[in-house]
Structures are given as C-alpha cells and as structure tokens.
Amino acid sequence: MAWDLKSDRPIYAQLVEILQRQIVSGHYSPGERLPSVRELAEEAAVNPNTMQKAFAELERGGLIQTQRTNGRTVTENQELIEELRRKLAKQHVGVFLDKMQALGYTVPAIEGLLEETLREREVSI
C-alpha cells in the first residue's frame, strides 16, 4: 500500500513527517535499523532520490543515524524523540484550537466540550 501523500506539498517534506510519526509512535523503536532507501521508496511508491532527501533531513535533525556497517538506525536518544512527540502533539492541538475557534467556540466552551467528550468516551469504553 503506497503512503498517503497530498498533492499540493513537496513530497520529501511529507515523507519526513510520516517517518517522524512512525518513529514517535514506536513503529520504529529507538536504535532499530531502518529499511533501505530503496525498500522504503518502493513501499511508499516514491522516487528513491526523494526518500534519500527525507532521510538526509531526518539525519540533520539527529533523529536517525547512519552506521558505517549497519545501514541507518533510529536514534537511541529518548529525549530527542520525546521532544519531537511533544512538538507534533502541540501542532495537532494548535490545529484543533483553530478549527474550534472557527466554529465560534470560546476557550472555556472548548474546555467544557473536551471534558464532556472525554467522559462520554470513558463510558463507552
């Protein structure tokens, strides 16, 4: 199954985001060896050079490392992963707040609705 890529943004930037999510969510765990550029390019159905560019970007940020003998691995630096997780989560919250405000919700109303929804979920679980 090819990765779900949007058509209006650079492909490499979307690959970076998907790989970041996979690392943060533990799909690839700290220290784990990543598939080769070609394997991942085939999986995502994208150009290998574009995948290479995404890897280079992740490497610059320290999230993945090139081992001389063992291909590429995810960083073992948990702090770095945690920091990224927080950054991604904050982005989601930001998008959520923008959308709620566009619907005309004030901050207290959003808080109220959030608590209500959480309670409903607990009941249903």
């Binding site: 209006d8 943004r9 492909i11 085939e42 159905a45 994208v46 050079n49």
Partner: protein
C-alpha cells in the same frame, strides 16, 4: 552531477515547415527519473525517436555521453516504444532468447524473476496474455537490461490502476543510481510521486525543466494541476 544525455539545438521538421521538435536545448544528468510531459502533438514521441536513432534530426544533435546515435548508444539505451514490436505468436521464453541475442546487457535471470513475481508462465504465447500482462512483459524486458538510460514511451497508458502501480514499483525497484529513466506520459498524477524532475514540452519547445518538489513549493499544487494550468486550452 555528470551529464548523460544532451539535446543541442535539436530540431525535427516534417514537410520542411512544421516543427515537431523546435531548437531544443537541455541536459539530462545521471541518476534521475524524469517525466517528459506535454499535450498530444507536443513532440514527445518525435524526441524519443531521435534519442533512439529512429529519426534523424533536421538540425542540431542528440548526444548520449557525447555520442550521436550509433550502435554503441543503442546498446546503452533500453527503449520501450509506444507500441509493441514483438511477435504475438512467440512464447514469452522465445522472446527472452530474442532479447538475449540482441542485447549483451540483458539479464535473462532478472527477467525470469520478475515474470515469476507476476505469475506469468514463460512457456505461454504472448498473444494469450491480457493487454495489461503484455505491457508488463514488455516493461520487464526493457528493465532487465543493464542500461545507462531507460526511455519509456507511455508505459502506463491503457492498463488498469493495479497494473500501473506494479509498473511504477518495477521502475523504482530496478532503478540504478548510475542510470536515468525518461518517461513520457500524460497520466501525470499517477506518476508524479516517482519523478525527480519534469520536462514540459509545447509545440516541440521546452517550456519548463524543473523538479517536482520545486513546482509544489513554488506553486503549492501538484505537477498535474500545474500542467493543466500551463496547458489550459
């Protein structure tokens, strides 16, 4: 980035006045997958035929590694034409032999592996295969050559979306960073994620030669959407 293919003031006229390819200048480096895009009649197939030495330029030249089309360049280019030239009454295995006789850089083993992956029995006649499978066999033949340049003229036209995905995967999976792939198509949205760069042709002239991500960054839209804008009637 070292250059692989060069168009130098390249022109082809039909009837001495109609320019199918009009003073084209461009250089294609190694290691790229490039889309050759343009509406019908923009000169894509004429250009491809000149690259392969099937048409002679009226003016200018096309150079592969500095050489004009000759047996040596033909040995280094793997070409998938827009129509089949294979004998449909031959068995797939006979066609493999035919390719092996013609091209020193053809890997029979690789072709057999790819056929096995598709579940195509090499002992059947080409004519018994579906249209989609015939197209796949032809692509397999071309991609099983160890070439410097792969030239694919409309490789995904007329096959179903699953076959298209297979064809694109085969192109990615057999991609060699020392070689380049030139793909002509007007099914842009299906193919743009596998392209590094795109060449837009109109009336035989180069309109644009840039990277896919450049178009997306600068215009905030896909190559497909941008193409529709540039070539809007």
């Amino acid at each position: 980035m070292s250059e692989l293919l060069e168009f130098v003031n390249l022109s082809k006229t039909y009837d001495k006045r109609y320019y199918a390819v009009n003073h084209l200048n461009a250089t294609i480096p190694k290691g790229k997958i490039i889309g050759l895009l343009g509406p019908n009649g923009s000169g894509k197939t004429t250009l491809i035929k000149m690259i392969n030495g099937l048409l002679v330029p009226t003016e200018g030249a096309v150079l592969l590694g500095g050489l004009e089309p000759c047996p040596e360049t033909k040995a280094r280019i793997a070409y998938l034409p827009d129509r089949s030239y294979l004998d449909p009454h031959q068995k797939v295995e006979q066609i493999l032999e035919f390719f092996g006789d013609f091209y020193e850089n053809f890997s029979r083993e690789k072709a057999l592996n790819l056929l096995a992956g598709l579940g195509i029995d090499p002992s059947v006649k080409l004519s018994t295969l579906s249209k989609g499978n015939r197209e796949k066999v032809q692509l397999i033949l071309v991609m099983s050559r160890q070439a410097d340049l792969y030239v694919l003229d409309e490789p995904i036209a007329g096959v179903d979306p699953a076959a298209r995905d297979y064809i694109l995967k085969t192109i990615i999976g057999n991609y060699n960073p020392e070689a380049s792939v030139l793909i002509s198509t007007h099914l842009i949205s299906d193919i743009e994620n596998v392209l590094d760069e795109v060449i837009f042709l109109r009336h035989g002239q180069l309109v644009l030669y840039t990277s896919v991500d450049n178009i997306r960054e600068q215009h905030g839209k896909s190559v497909d959407a941008y193409f529709r804008e540039v070539f809007a009637c």
